[in-house]
């Protein structure tokens, strides 16, 4: 994140290739008169270990962008590269946390099985058990392994989804408005949880949200998107000290200033 300058649409020279490189990404749904341009043109580099938040007005194509990044949706043009490798399908070094926890967890499996499921191919039963329990511990869910996800509250279900993602040991964690359907206090808890998990697991995070406070509070860089068809309005470095704290960090004048700046950009372009 050191040289993460807001150099928008040009190729950059660096010593090391960035972990994620998005180049001239475009996405149009349909064709002819009914076509819908979701992404106009996006180029972005994300470094190893970075926490990047993508904010934009609602309906601006954030989810489309994330789906293109994760290889779930082929872009109309442009490329996404991870460690220099072109993304053509979901890459093995990536995990996703979806907004709707009640749709992204397998309701017929216990919490434990949900977390263990993606690891079946990679790890033997003994190691798997260790990894799963560690992940459940990391998200504060020890002892709930035998329950079904739907027996838990919304915030706890999203913790299960987070545990499943980190147990997978991804290099990149994509999060699509993961806290949009939980209440405000739970949301703050989960924000801190993510920061802590990131600290423990050293994972690179791309976090999509429409919540400006959340973006500024968590990110190393905030990527502000325009209204659709979306492009990058600005990339703002967030030089707030870490570890971030819900009360202390949000009282800092820089925080307030950054928050206002992002807000101005979003409202200005909404």
């Amino acid at each position: 994140m050191a040289d993460a300058k807001a150099d928008l649409n040009g190729p950059r020279e660096k010593e090391r290739p960035p972990l994620v490189r998005i180049e001239a990404l475009q996405k149009t749904y349909g064709s002819g008169p009914g076509e819908h341009r979701a992404i106009a043109d996006i180029s972005l580099d994300v470094d190893d270990g970075e926490f990047a938040c993508i904010v934009g007005p609602s309906g601006c194509g954030k989810t489309t962008l994330l789906r293109c990044l994760s290889g779930l949706l082929p872009p109309s043009s442009g490329t996404v590269k991870i460690s220099g490798k072109l993304v053509e399908g979901p890459p093995a070094e990536m995990a996703l946390v979806f907004q709707e926890y009640n749709r992204s967890l397998f309701p017929w499996m216990s919490v434990y099985s949900n977390v263990a499921m993606p690891l079946k191919k990679r790890l033997r039963a003994k190691e798997r058990d260790l990894v799963v329990n560690e992940a459940l511990h990391a998200v504060g869910l020890e002892g709930t392994g035998n329950k079904y996800p739907w027996q838990l509250s919304g915030g706890m279900q999203q913790r299960v989804a987070i545990a499943r993602a980190v147990a997978y040991r991804p290099a990149i964690l994509l999060m699509d408005e993961p806290f949009a359907s939980v209440d405000a206090q739970t949301r703050n808890e989960l924000e801190d949880l993510i920061l802590q998990v990131r600290h423990e697991y050293g994972v690179t995070i791309l976090f999509v949200t429409h919540d400006i406070d959340e973006a500024v509070y968590m990110a190393d860089r905030v990527v502000v998107l325009s209204k659709p068809p979306c492009s990058i309005v600005k990339i703002l470095p967030v030089p707030l000290p870490r570890p971030r704290q819900q009360v202390a960090t949000k009282q800092l004048p820089e925080y307030t200033h950054l928050r206002a700046e992002v807000y101005g950009m979003i409202v200005g372009h909404a």
Binding site: L72, R103, F106, P107, W108, Y112, M117, P118, K147
Partner: protein, 285 residues
């Protein structure tokens, strides 16, 4: 007494009361067509649970079990194929819709010509008739798997087989069971009818024989056997469904906002029925 116990009591007592009433009223019956229940039960005991059981009832159960079993296997396989591939669905759907609108009883003459009057003909007819509800319901269930779960399976790079067995089939489970429930009575009907039309043994054959020999009490006894058999197979399916789909009732209740806030922890992974929690939710709602 809990609500559940009361329901169970009603479920047992009402039929018992009806049987007693029938027994008492028919005690002095001289009607040829409606012999006293006492006579019918006597025959039921001596013939249907006696020598008739091995000779007539067991072959029928066997045919039904094999036919229904084949229908489940074939129905789920074809249904999954139609559900997974739009191409297969478009190709097979008109044919399936056409075939299922033909009452499979009509295929019995064809079955007799091709397979004879033996067990294989009856198994074929039962399997054919029962397969269609299972095919259509399975295909429906497979097509309506939550897209987010498919995305999850893709991002975690689950193999095709794992995706099918751990994601698609459980997700389609409720609808597969709906198909199983719809085709169970068909299995019973097809078993009886195929035995009535062409057979040398079986419940349907015996009932018809009893009727032509004017042994009316034996005919009634066979009808009671069929009733009990139908009730038992339905009970087995209900219990199986309750076990396999225990998660589904709780999940649905939780979607409707009736989730228990402090769920009871299950002691081990085997105790998957979770029925007490589900029942509590229902009452709360």
């Amino acid at each position: 007494m809990s609500k559940r116990q009361r329901l169970l009591l009603v479920e047992v007592l009402v039929p018992c009361a009806l049987v007693v009433i029938w027994y008492v009223i028919s005690l002095n019956s001289t009607s040829f067509y409606f012999p006293p229940l006492k006579t019918i039960l006597g025959n039921f005991w001596s013939f249907w649970l006696g020598k008739g059981f091995i000779a007539q009832v067991v072959p029928s159960i066997e045919r039904m079990a094999i036919g229904y079993g084949l229908a489940i296997v074939a129905g789920v396989i074809v249904g999954v194929g139609m559900g997974l591939s739009t191409w297969a669905h478009d190709l097979a759907n008109p044919l399936v819709e056409f075939l299922r609108s033909i009452p499979s009883i009509l295929l019995i003459p064809f079955g007799i010509v091709v397979l004879g009057v033996g067990t294989s003909m009856k198994v074929f007819i039962i399997a054919l008739g029962c397969a269609f509800p299972i095919i259509l319901n399975t295909a429906d269930g497979v097509r309506s798997v939550e897209p987010t779960l498919i995305d999850v399976a893709r991002t975690f790079k689950l193999s095709g087989w794992t995706r099918l067995v751990r994601v698609v089939l459980p997700s389609a489970g409720p609808q597969i069971f709906a198909g199983l429930r719809a085709s169970l009575p068909l299995a019973l009907i097809l078993m009886v009818v195929s035995e009535m039309l062409a057979s040398t043994n079986g419940i349907g054959y015996s009932i018809l024989q009893a009727q032509t020999r004017f042994v009316i009490s034996e005919m009634w006894g066979g009808i009671i056997v069929l009733g009990i058999l139908g009730y038992l197979v339905n009970l087995i399916l209900t219990v199986a469904e309750g076990r396999v789909l225990a998660w589904h009732r709780g999940y649905r209740a939780s979607l409707l906002g009736k989730a228990p806030t402090a769920p009871r922890a299950r002691r081990n992974m085997k105790a998957r029925t979770g029925r007490p929690t589900v029942r509590q939710e229902e009452r709360r709602g």
